[in-house]
Amino acid sequence: MILYELIDFDTLRVIWWALLGVLLIGFALTDGFDMGVGALLPFVAKTDVERRVVINTVGPVWEGNQVWFILGGGAIFAAWPPLYAVSFSGFYLAMFVVLAAFIVRPVAFKYRSKRDSATWRNSWDWALFAGGAVPALLFGVAVGNVLLGVPFYLTEDLMPMYPGNFASKFVGLLRPFAVLAGIVSFAMLLMHGAAWLNLKSEGLVAERARSIGQKAGIVAMVGYAIAGLWLMIGVQGFALGEVAANGPSNPLYSDVSRDGSWLAAYGARPWIVIAPIMGFVGMALTLRGLSAGREVSTLLWSKLGITGVISSVGLTMFPFILPSTLDPKSSLTVWDASSSHQTLFIMLVVTAIFMPLILAYTAWVYKVLWGKVTEADVTHNSDTVY
């Protein structure tokens, strides 16, 4: 247990904050294109064979990709229990809608081509559309709400409370800034899905994907820029008072005030400007790649853009994870919402062992499946593919 002594509690907290970001980015980069492809499906593919081509580009990998989402949930539970408790129950009905999307999507992939009826297949195609589009939109809305602050407070027993009736809580999520964030995330994942189809399909499907992907990319860039300006002038930030970075995980022990702007972070830590730059550059080069028809590099640029956008949110808010509008003192931060020193350490060891393995075998699987999915692939293996 020498290592355990070596890594301080506050260091571990920062590592786990970064790992939380890695998981969210991992989810957006992998399952993100599945969602984008799902949302693009009815528009880039018209005939049954075309649709099967689109579905089969993600057919063998969506299941592994979705685990990023599940692992994200598990890791938040293990490393940031208060965040898990507050956010999942606070966004209750929105979480249910996301859950429904994530239940219907696997089933749609697997069952769609198992019957020959046009109605059957068409219904599942729209299920795939909803299963991709709805979470893509709602994840952005959730991030927007986190930036605005969420109306919850903690009792002395640390029970999360959310005043207000159920309808206002659900509709209340749709504040203008949050909706904008939702549009950015939706457009960004559409672009990512298009970059994937550009790589994995050919002909008309790829062409339509490139065309929609470029439009989506423009929307994402403009929306991201507006959101930045909005944060500068229209959104009040949060500021953390004195706090012991390695103190006990009890959010009520810290003082939080509401003044200034989130963007003050760029004054305090100028280097974080690299994140929004990555976002803009990545998205811009994705656009150029899509219009020029470049394949591998376009997908990589898209990944860079998404990484930049997501990390810009985290870096801007640091050390806040989930600020509370109702009772700023209850806000969850990196310094007061983590698991215990011991648990964070054990989880780090486990992650250090298994994450490289996961990346290695996932890379191997993608390598085995390398190459475009063609119409001939689908018609010749009609019984075995989706």
Partner: protein, 541 residues
């Protein structure tokens, strides 16, 4: 907090968990059976085994996807519906769930796509390895989930931290090697193996009844009955192990399952059947088997097993002890930094029973204000519903023994009677297909209902664990789940039926090529040529 929200949250958890567990046991067992079949294919090169792998693999896939989809609900429901639970024990309970993702679920989900899509892209051996990785991943998943669940039954390696108002891990090794978790893991995966074996056996029997795909059906029965027999024995042995560990970790659950109202002189008798009456605390028309309970529960002739009445008295003492801890906790909370060290010592000395004091929160806001009558009521609350546990347990055990008989019968016929199965036994095999699911669901019912009134035994009462939601929130999601899950269930069953009717996918070209290679050694003694098609080939008849 409304009691209604707690009850509705419990209903939702029970419903979604039991629904999830319709798919899990088949995944656990079928993944291994399919991997075994593919291994035989790689070893013998016989196309029939490849067909079997693909056929059972297709059914595995239809089932697997719903297991995955409904599993997401389970992971997210803790935070959605049980947020106080999540805060209170997340430091311990979250870890195995996250490790499950890292170690097991990534493995099975990444390779399951390759299993279905990789037939032409991988070598035979590679594909077989992929099948085994899926099977190993699924089974490791179960390990971590049961470590998490085992901790709820027997919360070792953790202590309450007054500064963070939650349980925190003190020893990961204790959580990992929790005896309850270990016994439960083997018991549960074995139950999954039995489920898959009964499923394969039943579907194959159906084919034999219909005189279709006999070659595939016979071989499948041979594999399933051997695997099923070993697993059925393992389920019972490890079930017994669970009972033994419950005798020192979850005394109340054990007493409730056995409807043991009073402590009996050792060795206690086992009540075979009877009608437990919760009000009067006695069992009517009970038929006893002398000594059996004492032997099973304690594996000794002299150790006593405490009865329910004695355990309620013990709970009352624990409540009073927990109140000392609660009082100290409130003092610490009032002035965290300035509190006298003796107060913290008092808290440490009594904190093991803090959960018992929390039982009073159902009746009063501040447990310290509880009246004598309320303390008695809280102590009585520690008794779970005896009759449902008593019966659920007996049906489960009965079915468990029946599976040993069924599997042994088919194993003997397959091994020593030239694969000849009497017609009645084939009908019986089809008829019992649902039985393992009933046994598995009852098993979970006994485990979870028997733990009430706790979510974490002795640590956190169920009544305190739920989120601060409105009844309307719960009704909306409950209605959503019921509708959604019902539709998916109908679709799943209809696809299963469709693909069972359709039968195996015949790869004619490969079969013929293989036969041409092996023509010389396939001639049968009655002069007929080697079987031309796998589904009509039947050298045994």
């Amino acid at each position: 907090m409304e009691l209604d929200v707690v009850e509705l949250s419990r209903l939702q958890f029970a419903m979604t968990a039991m629904y999830h567990f319709l798919f899990v046991p088949l995944t656990l067992g079928l993944s291994i059976l399919v991997a075994i079949m593919e291994t035989v294919y790689v070893m013998t090169n016989r196309p029939i085994w490849r067909q079997m792998t693909k056929f059972w693999g297709t059914l595995f896939g239809i089932n697997f996807v719903l297991g995955v989809a409904t599993g997401i609900t389970m992971e997210f429901q803790f935070g959605m519906n049980w947020s106080y639970y999540s805060h209170y024990v997340g430091d311990i309970f979250g870890a195995p769930l996250a490790i499950e993702g890292l170690m097991a679920f990534f493995l099975e989900a990444t390779f399951v796509g390759l299993f279905f899509f990789g037939w032409d892209k991988l070598s035979k051996v590679q594909h077989m390895v992929v099948a085994w990785l899926v099977a190993i991943g699924s089974n490791f998943s179960a390990l971590w989930i049961l470590i998490a669940n085992g901790w709820m039954q027997n919360p070792v390696g953790a202590a309450f931290n007054p500064d963070t108002m939650r349980m925190e891990m003190t020893s990961f090794a204790e959580v990992l090697f929790n005896e309850v978790a270990q016994a439960k893991f083997v018991h549960t995966v074995s139950a999954g193996y039995v489920t898959a074996s009964v499923f394969v056996l039943g579907v194959s029997a159906l084919y034999l009844i219909q005189s279709r795909h006999k070659d595939l059906a016979r071989r499948s029965i041979a594999v399933a009955s051997a695997f099923g027999l070993a697993s059925a024995l393992s389920v019972v042995v490890l079930g017994d192990e669970s009972g033994y560990s419950a005798s020192h970790t979850q005394k109340m659950k054990l007493a409730a399952i056995e409807a043991m109202w009073h402590t009996e002189p050792a060795p206690a008798s086992f009540t075979l059947v009877g009608f437990p009456d919760q009000e009067t605390r006695e069992t009517h028309y009970a038929v006893h088997l002398p000594w059996a309970m004492g032997l099973i529960g304690t594996r000794s002739l002299t150790e006593e097993i405490p009865g329910i009445n004695e355990l309620v008295e013990e709970a009352e003492h624990k409540i009073r002890d927990g109140l000392i801890a609660y009082d100290a906790l409130m003092t610490i909370r009032a002035d965290r930094t300035g509190v006298a060290p003796e107060i913290r010592e008092t808290f440490e000395a009594h904190s093991a029973n803090l959960g018992y004091a929390m039982l009073l929160k159902r009746y009063v806001d501040d447990p310290r204000d509880a009246t004598e009558a309320q303390i008695k009521m809280a102590a009585d609350d520690t008794v779970p519903g005896v009759a449902p546990l008593f019966w659920a347990f007996r049906i489960m055990v009965g079915l468990g023994f029946a599976f040993i008989g069924v599997m042994a019968f088919f194993f003997v016929r397959a091994s020593f009677y030239n694969m000849q199965f009497p017609r009645w036994s084939l009908y019986a095999a089809v008829a019992i297909i649902p039985a393992p699911w009933i046994a598995a669901e009852l098993g979970w019912f006994v485990a979870e209902f028997g733990r009430q009134p706790w979510t974490v035994d002795g640590v956190l009462p169920t009544a305190l664990s739920a989120s601060h939601l409105s009844v309307m929130d719960l009704l909306i999601t409950l209605a959503g789940f019921v509708t959604f899950y019902s539709i998916l269930f109908v679709i799943e069953i209809s696809l299963m039926v469709k693909y069972i009717r359709k039968g195996p996918y015949l790869d004619v070209a490969e079969t013929e090529a293989w036969q041409a290679r092996h023509e010389h050694r396939l001639r049968t003694h009655d002069g007929q040529g080697p079987f031309a098609r796998a589904d009509v080939a039947n050298p045994a008849e």
